[in-house]
């Protein structure tokens, strides 16, 4: 029979997905109420990818994210309060309100940032892997990116460089078959992004992005390969973006039936029943949901109560102070 995760890991995956889902649902609601400025791209529907991948990572491992970055931030261990405060543009946010949704980051958690330039995270994660190899650190680099991003030159140059140097990096393509409003067939002729691994002679793996356990094991293999000197992997997770590209998008361009089917294929609901079928008591799941909700309530309260940044600090943090004398 198929590999199964331990109950402990199973619950960890469940909690990570629930944390992402509830955080995003709250954010959508707060955005609609005008609490959150700027653009908002949510991760709802793709939780199993960030959860399944990040459950294999330590705080030392480095990830780069995208414009759709909350899920990665949360999966990599991000706190609700500082994340929410950042989305609010408050001084107490992870990035003092300077980054916001599209640039949220916490290097101490190995989260090198959401990124508002499509595919820009790939070369950066490649560089994090280069540092690991060069300085003998045992972290791996992981770049999350979308199907649309796989058409950028930065994707090509990153995978080729990682392959030539056998870098410890995993490229995780979240293939939701849309680049904003553009369906896959309009932006690439191939059906699977994973086939592009052949252009670099590296492994290309496809996994069901709605099966968190499958994602977990595929990512585990790729991460272990990277960590043990086996080089890069292109891991493609088939997933679905539930909401619009961003909150201003009503998705008029989507096939309703197809979309409905996708919505019914909810990774969290599915994993819940798997856990129950494996003997996990409902109470445990309820307890997780309650805990997450409590933390979320507190986080929103924290964001609401937090002070705005001081305009006097607007130009702080551009340069790192440096004194030649100090050399």
């Amino acid at each position: 029979m198929e590999k199964q995760v331990s109950q402990e890991v199973g619950l960890q995956l469940y909690e990570l997905m629930v944390r992402i889902r509830k955080f995003e649902e709250a954010v959508v609601n707060l955005f609609a109420r005008g609490k959150i400025p700027g653009f908002l791209h949510t991760y709802i529907g793709e939780e199993a990818v960030a959860a399944g991948v990040c459950a294999n990572l330590t705080l030392e491992d480095k990830i780069t994210s995208t414009h759709r970055g909350h899920g990665h931030m949360v999966a990599k261990g991000g706190r609700f309060d500082k994340a929410m405060a950042e989305l609010y543009g408050k001084a107490t946010g992870y990035n003092k309100g300077k980054g916001g949704s599209m640039h949220i980051a916490e290097p101490d958690l190995g989260m090198l940032g959401a990124n508002a330039i499509v595919a820009a995270g790939l070369p950066i994660a490649t560089g994090a892997a280069l540092t690991a190899q060069y300085l003998g650190k045992d972290w791996v680099g992981v770049a999350f990116f979308g199907d649309g991003a796989s058409n950028e030159g930065a994707f090509h140059e990153s995978l080729n460089l990682a392959s030539v140097w056998n870098l410890p990096v995993v490229y995780v393509c979240e293939n939701n078959e849309f680049a904003e409003s553009t369906p896959r067939w309009q932006h690439q002729k191939i059906k699977d992004v994973a086939i592009r691994a052949q252009a670099y002679d590296i492994p290309g793996v496809i996994v069901d992005g709605n099966d968190v356990e499958a994602v977990y094991f595929c990512a585990k293999e790729a991460v272990e390969r990277a960590r043990s000197g086996g080089g890069p992997t292109l891991l493609e997770a088939k997933t679905t973006r539930w909401r619009g590209h961003h909150e201003a998008d009503n998705q008029s361009y989507r096939d309703k039936a197809e979309f409905q089917a996708a919505l019914e294929n909810d990774a969290i609901v599915k994993w819940e029943s798997v856990l129950l079928s494996r003997g996990v008591p409902q109470e445990k799941l309820d307890e997780i949901n309650n805990r997450v909700e409590q933390e979320l309530k507190a986080a929103i309260e924290f964001a609401e109560q937090s002070p705005l940044p001081d305009p006097a600090d607007a130009r702080a943090d551009i340069y790192t102070p440096f004194e030649l004398e100090a050399i």
Binding site: G38, A179, Q186, H187
Partner: protein, 327 residues
């Protein structure tokens, strides 16, 4: 005269040019059914079909390069760079290819390419979706650059750009898309290199581009109360730049304020100040003031962004400085 938004004016120009010349087509990301990230091309797909309203993969280098090659061989593409911040993915095709091909080939071909690039901040879109990069392109011989500040110029300059046999970049201001203005019913063109005297005045000349024109007019009204009369000039195109009109005005007022949203250092205000300081040296009664964004990446939090970006108050302060200049 019809009254319409800046967005609708741009769309009308596109529609008229598409109707006027079969060789004209639109190429860009999500510009078809989605109507573009900023909805400027909405509806054109239904009118002109997918052959002429071409959705591309997320490949700025590829799509701009294809537009260059297409323009070099008889078509007249109008490319959209979704946000001008994304030029970084494709600069080579703009400044080394489009701008230089004619010259390098001894005048043997033309590149009738129009690139539309929405620019600017004030939307909490943070550091990767808020920049004004016109200074880069003004520094590149071979390019023409238009910066419409209202619906009338948005339509007239874009139509001229499409007819011009040279590569032209039109920087549209995102904050102006919803601003209404008067636009003639009948087709018209706005010539390049001809500044517009937006407001006649006697005390101080204000040269402003894009949305700083409106801020300058607001400042002019406020200052009128204090009996200070501003002459506001909008160059409309910065390459070519109508320096004569600016010089004439400064010879009359003896005082100049230059205003743009891009950050101060290395902005186009420096070039304009340098030229005026050179050509109107004996007429200047006070140092030339530059109103611009403070040198910083654009922050996410509204309160910080407002601190960084210039507005009518900054123009007013600058005018007071030139008026009060004692030497």
């Amino acid at each position: 005269m019809a009254v319409m938004t800046y967005r609708e004016a741009v769309r009308q120009a596109l529609r008229e040019e598409l109707q006027n010349d079969e060789r004209v087509y639109l190429i860009g990301e999500d510009i078809a059914e989605f109507g573009g990230s900023l909805k400027v091309t909405l509806g054109l797909l239904d009118e002109f079909g997918p052959k002429r309203i071409r959705n591309t993969p997320i490949s700025e280098m590829g799509l701009l390069g294809a537009a260059v090659g297409s323009a070099a061989t008889g078509a007249r593409p109008i490319a959209e760079v979704m946000y001008s911040d994304f030029f970084g993915m494709a600069m080579d095709q703009v400044f080394n290819q489009a701008a230089k091909m004619r010259y390098m080939f001894g005048g043997k071909l033309s590149i009738p390419l129009t690139i539309r690039a929405p620019m600017g901040g004030r939307r909490s879109a943070a550091a990767h979706h808020s920049q004004c990069l016109e200074a880069w392109f003004m520094h590149i011989p071979g390019l023409k650059i238009a910066m419409p500040a209202n619906a009338y110029d948005a339509k007239g300059l874009l139509k001229t750009a499409v007819r011009d046999p040279n590569p032209v970049i039109v920087f549209e201001n995102k904050m102006l898309y919803n601003v209404k203005g008067e636009v003639p019913e009948e087709p018209f063109f706005v010539p390049f290199g001809v500044a517009k005297l937006v407001r006649e005045g006697s005390d101080v000349t204000v040269v402003a581009v894009s949305d700083m024109v409106d801020y300058s007019l607001k400042a002019a009204e406020a200052l009128e109360a204090d009996g200070i009369s501003l002459e506001v000039i909008d160059p409309r195109t910065i390459a070519p730049l109508d320096i004569e009109t600016i010089i004439q005005s400064v010879k009359k007022t003896g005082k100049l304020v230059v205003a743009h949203e891009a950050n101060l250092t290395g902005g186009i205000g420096a070039e304009i100040a340098a030229q005026v300081g050179y050509r109107a040296f004996d007429y200047l009664q006070a140092p030339i003031e530059r109103v611009a964004a403070k040198d910083s990446p654009i922050p996410f939090a509204p309160i910080l962004e407002k601190e960084i970006l210039p507005d009518d108050q900054d123009v007013i302060d600058a005018v007071h400085r030139v008026m009060d200049y004692a030497g």
